[in-house]
């Protein structure tokens, strides 16, 4: 079975539909599936529910799907970098479900692992707990959070082999593995597809069983907040 597709558009052929739920990897603009997001923009798929820690920025990442109003609902932990997002949310055009970051990560992991729900201390006593089942374990209160199973996962990795085994680089791993597992279909974009056997089996971060389709492409990898220090004169 061939998992490697020539373009993002080809890799998404037949898997997009209006009203679908998509789990997307990335943290801020780091490790986001920028090529697949562009392909969804081009496809014009609408009424999307997107589970992603952040929502991109104006004009890049998931921000481009917000500008075209393709997104009905975001499930995110932090959306502070996106003015258009804020405008649509405050005017009621966009639904937003805030999830604590760890709860979102675990909801994706659980969904992909066949676990429909889990109890967590996170959010107890806050608005996040409202309407959720509370249960006491060993004298402490926990709330029930549900696993997320998405129609599609879109993720970005550093290197992959044709069987779909993926290797990530530094903090660009972030939400990509849990998001990948949460989808009924997972499409991955990588910087380089290497020959079978070129990846060390002991260093594979996401086994190919989770990855159904993949592409290789050029990534802009935009930096959101460039911070540096000066080299001290010797």
């Amino acid at each position: 079975m061939n998992k490697v597709f020539p373009t993002a558009q080809a890799a998404l052929e037949g898997v997009l539909f209006d009203g679908m739920t998509i789990a997307a990897g990335g943290f801020g603009l780091c490790g986001i599936p920028e090529l697949l997001i562009e392909a969804i923009f081009d496809a014009g798929t609408r009424n999307l529910t997107i589970a992603s820690n952040n929502a991109g920025v104006d004009g890049f990442g998931l921000g481009i799907l917000l500008a075209t109003r393709q997104v009905k609902k975001m499930i995110s932990s932090y959306v502070g970098e996106n003015a258009e997002f804020m405008r649509q949310y405050l005017s009621g055009e966009l639904e937003l479900e805030f999830n604590p970051q760890g709860t979102l990560a675990e909801r994706l992991r659980a969904g992909g692992a066949g676990i429909p729900g889990f109890y967590t201390r996170t959010g107890v006593g806050t608005v996040i707990a409202e309407g959720k089942e509370h249960k006491e374990f060993d004298g402490k209160t926990y709330i029930l959070e549900r696993g997320i199973v998405a129609d599609l996962s879109i993720v970005k990795a550093w290197r992959g082999d044709p069987s779909g085994n993926l290797e990530f680089r530094k903090t660009a791993r972030n939400f990509n593995p849990p998001a990948a597992t949460a989808g009924k279909i997972c499409v991955a974009e990588v910087e380089e597809i290497v020959p079978m056997g070129a990846l060390d089996p002991d260093k594979i971060h996401l086994p190919g069983i989770y990855v159904h389709r993949m592409i290789q492409g050029e990534h802009e990898k935009r930096i959101e907040n460039r911070t540096t220090r000066k080299k001290e004169a010797v």
Binding site: F27, G28, L29, C30, G31, N53, S76, S77, Y78, V79, G80, E81, M86, Y89, L90, L96, F98, P100, Q101, G102, T103, A105, E106, L108, R109, T120, R121, T122, G123, V124, G125, T126, V127, I128, W158, F168, R169, K170, T171, A172, R173, N174, F175, N176, P177, P178, H205, K221, R222, I223, E224, N225, R226, T227, T228, R229, K230, K231
Partner: protein
Amino acid sequence: MAEGQKGWDRNQMAARAALELRDGMYVNLGIGIPTLVANYIPAGVNVTLQSENGMLGMGPFPFEGEEDPDLINAGKQTITELPQTAYFDSAQSFAMIRGGKIAMAILGAMEVNQEGDLANWMIPGKLVKGMGGAMDLVAGVGRVVVVMDHTSKHGESKVLKHCTLPLTGKGVVDRIITNLGVLDVGHKGLHIVECADFVTEAELRAATEATIVD
């Protein structure tokens, strides 16, 4: 310094917060003043900084021209790695937070109250950015230290009997470090640990709406 500046500035607050660190601790520093704490880690104290986007062993900012888009902290700032650095995914990152493996979090706050409730993520109708990892951190780490200005721009106390903003966590704060001093959350109210430079106990009490017991 007969006429010193009353209270601590941002860097002095960060330096005071750094005294909370103990050798060998795994620590998460929040955005803002807590980030500055890394500049004041006492000599002989080795701590490992966790960045909740998936890293243990966070290093300083890179030299100009050496920024790596694949290497950022939770504030999306470019950073560097250290010899002991480890990377992992977000589910693993919050497993170690939720699982109590992180000894301490030092976080900013908009409001805190005498029962240790913390509000630092949302101002209804005004600021809607999200809680990020703050709710997970306060629910999971061993000890929560809050660093904040004692009063608002209008002079109103931010150390309250009851928080007015949506909470990040209930009964989660252990210690409060402000520009005016250090307070601990006790069973019946706050305890004064120390006053900031040139701040009297009476001034600290007067600026605090919360109940201070001894």
